[in-house]
Amino acid sequence: MPPRRARVAVDIGGTFTDLVCIDANGELHRAKADSTPEALEVAVLEVLARSGVDPASVDSFLHGSTVVINAITERSGARTALVTTRGFRDVLEIARANRPDLYNLRYAKPEPFVPRHLRLEVTERVSYRGDVLTPLDESELAGVAQQLRDLEVDAVAVSFLHAWIRPQHEARVALVLREMLPGVMVVASHEVSRQWREYERSNTAVLSAYVQPVVATYLAALATGLESVGVDAQLYAMQSAGGVCSFDRALRAPITMLESGPVAGVTAAAALGRQLGIRHLLTLDIGGTTAKTSAVIDGVVPVNTLHYIGKTPHFAGYPVQVPVVDIVEIGTGGGSIAEVDAAGGLHVGPRSAGAVPGPACYGKGGEHATVTDANILTGRLDAEYFLGGTVELETDAASRAMARVADGLGVATEEAARGVLRFAVAQMANALRLVTLRRGHDPRDFTLVAFGGNGPLHAALLARELGITRVVIPPGPGHFSAFGMLEGSMTAQAVQTFVGPLASTDVAALLRRVERDAQAELSEPATSVQRYLELRYQGQEHTLEIPVPAAGDLLAGLVEEFNRRSEREYAFSLDAPLEVVAARVELAVQGIAVPWVADDNDDVPRHPTGTRVVDFDRHGGLLEAVVRDRRSLTVGEVVAGPCVIEEAASTTLVLPGQTVRRDEHGNLVLEE
């Protein structure tokens, strides 16, 4: 029997399900399969079979999936009811009443996940200070249970006013309903959020209840499937705030599995940064439809405690009060479509050609010119070595599609291709500025970590645009997110709203309490603790989250850091007292240190060393660039741009004036 020490991470994305494994001998395996949205576990088992990993050797199975977000966006969750404080059953339907689409006078607000006839009220009331104003009327509960039974619901959310400070009424009702309604999933709001704002907290509880039965079914099917192929491993689920938790815990608060792949990409980049000793890094994750970025400052992965599902500039979306890694996403990726509007203006994205029909050069019927087509036409991508030469691209189709854009703009096709890329890169640069300059950071202090299929292709251009002098491209950039899951730190988060003047708040006691709540979610003692306070100037609404200093004068340290951050982010500071609004504690049990290893296996044919003509546009025009297969680079060898580094699922462009080398871990390092 082989030693049971293989560690497997499987990440389900919209298009592909990725597997990365470090086996008992420390060797790396990767596999990819098409995702199977109708039964997600099928692709998981398929990709495991393809990987050749011995199921019996798997010790830890780490998993990120789209099961939660799919259930919400497709509205395929459970028939869910809401039990709330008397007088407030319409809160879920009223929402916050905002109209983000200002001039659309036929705007339709988000439809609540619980319709009115499934929203029931109970007599009880607690004040904002946590005093009981009206005791819970226990005599109503049997009737409520009967109504819920008659309504044939599968799940119930219980959300009472001010349960963020005094959850006893909610807890009692949840307990009674669980007893009276066996088989019905009951979620109380305080179990998923201890933050104030009744609509947001109710919606969080409702969505958690709504997805719970779906998630339970899925995780059970997956566990059974894994068992049936001989996997007997610890099972972990990826969390939206980074890190993992046991399947058991994920079942109790499934809403924390909302985001996985993109989050794993950021935590993987942070882990890579720790290994390489990078202080501040910017992630750049470019896929087919979007570009995503996040700023990891001093090694800290940024987390928001309020996240919106489906929010756009024209739609309010659904808020959830769960910690989610702060990622800025824009609709510009490889498949983004270039269009000319009625006034002759160019737009790239957010419309995407997706995987089907895909960019015009795929030859699968795509009529629209995309960013990928522009990259083919400028020679930045090699039409003959796409996905390692496994897919043949049609340059003519790309050219025909781009000619239509060029006509609309009144320029030559080549010029249109350059313009599309210039525009796309400018859009991506705006996203990078959003997480740096607009928050008071200088991008030149950052290292760019680029991954996703299209990250390495645009990284050099973005670095030049923003004055960034170092870019790191990890091995297997297309699998990087799944790779990041391998680390598998177990994490737990607790957030507690607590409003009061900073000067008179016992901050240490508050943090101890929140830390206890977080620790209760972990099965082992934490190996690292991060403590944060949400603070604001008294009289202000918006808060800044400030890390709590580990040593020194706590209050003075918090005030100083708050003023500094406020000045940096908003060019604004006041001589006003501070108010505490919430405390957050992040605990982790360190997983393994991911061994970054170069992927030099030869299952994909190597790109021959040579040269090709590449259009570098404003960075030197048409130049003969050196072309190298990534595997052919030796550690210590420095190649000067203009050059192109090819690998199976990605292409790295290096501009004139930049150099590229391969470090001892197999990363490509571009320097200016």
Binding site: G87, F88, R89, D90, V91, E93, I94, A95, R96, A97, N98, R99, P100, D101, L102, Y103, N104, L105, R106, Y107, K109, R116, H117, S127, Y128, R129, L133, L161, H162, W164, W196, R197, E198, Y199, H314, D341, A342, A343, G345, L346, L409, V411, G419, R422, F423, A426, N430, R433, V499, Y537, G539, Q540, E541, H542, E569, Y570, A571, F572, L574, A576
Partner: protein, 557 residues
């Protein structure tokens, strides 16, 4: 560097990013709840002639004032230097609305050349005057409405003018908030300046200037292109504006809209002269109200610039409800701005059914409640708009509980936050279901009921609601909606009349204020409503069986 067309496209997006950044900066740093919760503010970037090239708006009502404020600044102040910031709230001059809306304008220079302007206008919580919160529904002249700041420099060459600061401080009941907003607005203008200077350093002043020109031209081209898709002809509407808060009215108002291939002309001639109470608006308010609906029927999504509105012409003689002259009271000007929107909307509803609905509850439904917080002993002032019911569309029911056309990305205050901050007890927050109101083939959406129990010894209430006297209109046989109102249940068991306007009413501990907004109008005769929709409404408790029978002709089974 030559201004190639891709650079122009890239700069077009960059100007939007500047406005967005200004918007977030101001929202995050403001001290006024009306700014950071209600988002009653607008920011923008204008070219050197004062034409707005990009803007960030929290509410619809800022489609006129920003560019006007910059242009008036240019006319009045001829010796602008880098680092100057001009402050104005003059309601009757360029960009003016009411005194609470304070506009600030900063010229942006690059190497001594005037390249652009940054402007921000925001509702300050208190600028002095007769009433706490500065606006009321019963002033009879602007001199009761607060401190006037007629195009004065708050910063001169980058240095804060302490004389202006001292005047603001002395005039506001909440000087920390007022000065906090002065600083927050100043900071957001500085952010814009920095960004524009960066763009000029990168692309050159000539290119940035050319890009601004192109943005305006492009907007105009797009707007003109949409005119071809609109029905051409003359459309008219008339209505009644609610009473003015000091005992007069209602007042007849009218519009004649002419849509042709070259433009849209809205003529308000024949509308009632300016009135003694504070519901008058001035030119900028009228322009904003009309532009909102023009934007809705042309293209709601494209960024709004001053170029977009070049095909729109507005006519209205001076001295009407929509074009009040000094010293007419204007504290509740937003009521007439909305009426201007609503009139054009009503004239065009059946002509543009893919863009417009039946009448909605229309009013910002502003209330202000001033009390001493019973737990902290500190003064608290709750100024808020209320959400209500929207009208049905040709093919959809109306929306329930949505802020009015004059608001926008405006968030109502959570119950849990309101109780903590203002020391009131919210006893109910619910849909105001009036099954017969707004009945139709498609029915209007519901308004809301929000109840405040007073826990302090006393509190002062001011209310300015429109659509109390005349309910929202229906279309094509759809029923009218229901009115907006406030009533007070006193601790002694008596209840006040329902009212739409009230100024500085004193209430006491134990009294309950009930704020009620109306349903939108219906579209199409109720008899045409499909059976399934009636059944669904009955199930949801949106409809009673007798109204289902009497109004909709519903037979169970």
């Amino acid at each position: 560097m030559e201004a190639d067309r891709f650079t122009l496209d890239i700069l077009r997006e960059a100007f939007l990013a500047v406005a967005e950044e200004m918007f977030v900066s101001l929202q995050r740093t403001s001290q006024s709840p009306v700014v950071y919760e209600v988002l009653d503010f607008g920011v923008g970037l204008a070219d050197a002639k004062g034409e707005l090239v990009s803007q960030g708006n929290g509410v619809a009502g800022f489609l006129g004032p920003l560019g006007d404020a910059v242009q008036a600044t240019l006319q009045r102040i001829t010796d602008l230097v880098p680092g100057d910031v001009v402050v104005t709230n003059d309601p009757y001059a360029g960009g003016g609305t009411h005194l609470s809306d304070v506009a600030m304008v900063r010229p942006i220079f690059v190497d001594g050349e005037l390249v652009a302007f940054a402007a921000a206008k925001a509702h300050w919580t208190d600028v002095g005057g007769r009433d706490p919160g500065s606006w009321s529904s019963s002033t009879i002249s602007v001199y009761q409405e607060g401190l006037q700041l007629p195009f004065v420099r708050a910063w001169r060459g980058g240095r804060l003018d302490n004389d202006i600061v001292a005047m603001i401080k002395a005039n506001s009941r909440l000087p920390e908030q007022a000065l906090g907003d002065l600083m927050a607005q100043g900071a957001c203008l500085e952010v814009a300046e920095r960004r524009v200077q960066e763009l000029c350093a990168r692309y050159g002043v000539a290119t940035v200037t050319a890009a601004m020109h192109e943005v305006l031209e492009r907007s105009e081209r797009l707007a003109r292109a949409t005119l071809a898709t609109l029905p051409h002809g003359v459309f008219e509407a008339e209505d009644l504006a609610d009473r003015d808060g000091v005992g007069n009215g209602p007042f007849a108002v009218r519009v004649r809209v002419e849509i042709g291939p070259d433009g849209v002309h809205c003529d308000f001639t024949g509308s009632h002269p300016e009135v003694p109470g504070p519901i008058n608006c001035t030119w900028s308010g009228l322009v904003s109200g009309v532009r909102t609906v023009f934007k809705a029927i042309t293209d709601p999504v494209e960024p709004a610039t001053d170029g977009w509105f070049r095909p729109l012409r507005i006519t209205c003689p001076p001295g009407t409800l929509f074009t009040a002259q000094r010293p007419a009271p204007v504290a509740a000007y937003f009521e007439s701005t909305e009426i201007a929107s609503d009139l054009v909307w009503k004239a065009l509803a059946t002509a543009c059914p893919d863009r417009l609905t039946a009448g909605h509850f229309l009013s910002v439904c502003s209330t202000s409640l001033s009390c001493r917080h019973p737990d902290t002993g500190e003064d608290a002032l709750l100024v808020e708009p209320h959400a209500g019911g929207w009208g049905a569309g040709l093919d959809v029911d109306g929306q329930s509980g949505l802020v009015s056309v004059g608001d926008g990305e405006t968030y109502i205050i959570p119950v849990e936050v309101a109780e903590q901050r203002y020391g009131i007890l919210v006893e109910r927050f619910a849909l105001n279901i009036q099954p017969a109101a707004g009945a139709g083939r498609h029915r209007g959406g519901w308004g809301l009921i929000r109840e405040y129990r007073i826990l302090s010894d006393q509190a002062i209430l001011t209310v300015a609601m429109g659509r109390h006297d005349a309910p929202p209109w229906g279309v094509d046989g759809g029923a009218v909606g229901s009115p907006n109102y406030v009533e007070i249940e006193y601790a002694n068991g008596t209840t006040s009349e329902q009212f739409g306007k009230a100024s500085a009413v004193t209430v006491h501990r134990g009294d309950l204020i009930r704020i009620v907004t109306g349903s939108g109008g219906g579209w199409g005769a109720p008899g045409g409503r499909v059976h399934d929709s009636i059944v669904a409404d009955l199930r949801g408790g949106y409809l009673t069986l007798d109204i289902a029978n009497s109004t909709y002709g519903y037979q169970p089974g």
